[in-house]
Amino acid sequence: MILAVLSGFLAALILAFSGKLFRGRLSVLLGLLPLSIFNYFLYFFPDISAGKVITFSYRWIPSLGINLDFRLDGLSMLFVMLITGIGALIYFYAASYLEGHKFLDRFYAYLSLFMGSMLGLVLADNTLLIFIFWELTSISSFFLIGFNNDNAESRKSALMALAITGCGGFFLLASFVLMGIATQTYSIGQMLAAPGFLKEQPAYELVLFFLFVGSFSKSAQFPFHFWLPGAMKAPTPVSAYLHSATMVKAGIYLLARFSPLLGDHLLWTNTLMITGGFTMLYAAAHSVFKKDLKSILAYSTISALGMLVFLIGIGTRYAIVAAAAFILVHALYKAGLFLITGIIDHEAGTRNIDKLGGLRKWFPLVALAGLLAALSSAGVPLTFGFIGKDLIYEATLHTQDFFRYTLTPLALITNILLLYAGFSTGIRPFAGSIPENLSKGPLHPSLSPLLWIPPLILGGLSIFFGLLPYVPDQLLVSHAASSIYGSYIFLPLKIWHGFNLTLLLSAVTIVAGAALYFLYRPATASAATQYWLQWFSPQHLTEWTGEKTRLFAYHYTKMLQNGYLRSYILTITVFLIGLIGYRFFSTVDLRVNTSGFTEIRFFEFVVFAITVIATITTVFTNSRLTAIVSMSIIGLSICLIYVYYGAPDLAMTQFTIDTLTVVLFVLVLYRLPQYLINSNRKMKLRDGLVAFSFGTLISLITLQALISPANKEISRFYADNAYLLAKGKNVVNVILVDFRGADTMVETMVLTIAALGVYSLLKLNVKPTDKD
């Protein structure tokens, strides 16, 4: 099992190193990977059908509570089948679709990475593990959307998708952590053992909120929906796989997964119904105005996702079965439509529905696949879509009074619009006569079977499942629905429910949708009327925020990181003055206690006076030699201070170092020109003020520190034990070479590094022209 999950990652890794092998025709072989995983999971069907839950556990980071715990139940099985089954078709399809692309190997690496993460996501039992895989799907989606990385729009869309889904991921993590704190476990299996527990926790609202933000962002629910149309910049197989059949359903998966834990609560039900309901209507309405095939599909996908959220929100037995069935229905027909769109784009060179028509004459088999998918999406009887649509109406009709009369029309309108979208993409390009711009024939006259077989399989499955609903029901839908519901549901899918309201609604849907399709053509909407609406759209607001953040960062960086060393020092100093000064004056009461201080003797005063004069000279002199000499005078005076106050070692060191520093300075600076630059008076005044306040502050702090009692324990220990333990009488030296010998060792290493630095800096030959 772990191999099955991780094989995607392994494949990505192998492709990273041996990519050249799979750039050409051999890429077809890669399709065997999802196919074999698909076959592997087929073996679990008997167990799943018996209602068992299969778990696997591998130790990974037990200290953090993260183990590779996997859990296969009906819901996971449904998704695994979609991921690997559709994945296999996509792998084969892409081999022909992107044939000859120079980064084909990279494409497959991303795709494998995605497949692995998605499998991990739907199989993981540990919430933290879910989060990791969740983020991985976002990242692989980012790579795939931006696959045509020479296109600026592509890059922008990829970033947008990453930003939205990535942000959502953080919310998800927050939700998981809160759940973990409340339940003391990160295992979903253990949480499911006590399903009602979380609902009584005080953190419930917060958990729910974070979970919703995470799921909605991934599943493109309003107001996070706008990244999905942008994601259509990805190559069409990717759109079909990630952005319609699998990844965007990760949010749905999550809601379904946590439905038994968190659902059946007013907050849960209402939020999901309102968000899902609004999204499905909003997006379906949008899809009607689009002319680009992929845009239509993108919006109808959002709408379908809204429908799923809506159904999970309703949460009744009917709704859950409808949701489980609709996941499958939608994946089958929408992936098919995407693949067909890909073929059209590939062969006709356009995706604009106004410029397409009559393509059935080119590719009759593709047209057949398109027809099947469109019929299924329309919910025409004897297709799987019909069953799905029936269940949706059943679900809305089996709610309580108020909802019954509001939700049913909502679903009806959405379905009519979705039917239109399905027909527009699946039938319209193939109907009628070939327009003039396409009179030259297809771009690639011999259509590879790798392109047309996958959509035909998907279309065929839609019909097959429609004719024999018992098959998908027994294999997938009923078990998935039971997992979502939390207990076993017995509600078999049927082709025929008899003459009732549901059938009437289905009929109305088909008739109205077909009428819409035949009577309405999308007009070019005038840009001006849409403008003000555009401003309030979430997409615009996000872009606006992003742009302003970038500008702010730019100015902020320019102000603080301007590259002038002086301004850094100034900023740091001013900040220090402010911070220390505030702390100092607000907490320490200034008092002066001179009782412990020594008298000022005459020679001390002389040394002091010399130091002050030398310091002032160093600062204000215009000759550098003078500055160096007066600086060495400062050093020597300090040396005297050390001598007076019982530090002969320091005095000696200071003296020798001072000598060497002067030698160094004279050796080097002798060759440099005079200082020429003079700052203006205003700047000097400002710097002087800052420097003065800093010095004053340090003096005040020193004064206070001197008065405060100090802890002398360490000094006493060293002094008392210098001879007893280390057989030395010069305590300073004993500390250096014995007590703290390792420190001195490191210090000599630092000196060595400095010497090596000097040596290499001078021996390294960089010519002046290398400056830039």
Binding site: Y554, Y564, M631, D649, L664, N730, P768
Partner: protein
């Protein structure tokens, strides 16, 4: 004497900062050295100066019998002095190299500002 030293610390700190705020690289270096000196005296002062004797145990004894200067700040400063020598020499050479390449003592000419992001 403590007063004078406290004043001296303040003076060295402000001179150091003032010099570091200049445009000249040489002044930057001088400022750094002054700041280091100020810090050394500050640490030294914290060890209660003026208590007289160096921290050396008398010849005929194995422990201190009289007052002695605090050895810990002294060993800290000794380390600091030696390390700062390493730092200074490296900085001086760096300065020399920069000057060789840019023919300027002005720190601002090293700046590559206005990089468009």
């Amino acid at each position: 004497m403590e007063y004078l030293l406290i004043f001296l610390i303040g003076l060295l700190y402000s001179s150091g900062i003032y010099l570091m705020l200049r445009k000249s690289m040489v002044k930057l270096l001088l400022g750094l050295i002054l700041l280091g000196n100020g810090a050394n005296i500050l640490i030294f002062l914290m060890g209660d100066i003026a208590k007289g004797q160096p921290p050396i145990i008398p010849r005929d004894a194995s422990i201190f019998t009289q007052m002695y200067a605090d050895p810990v700040p002294q060993s800290l400063i000794l380390t600091a002095i030696v390390i700062s020598f390493g730092l200074q020499s490296f900085a001086i050479i760096l300065l020399k190299r920069v000057y060789q390449m840019t023919k300027s003592d002005n720190l601002d000419t090293l700046n590559t500002h206005e990089i468009d992001i």
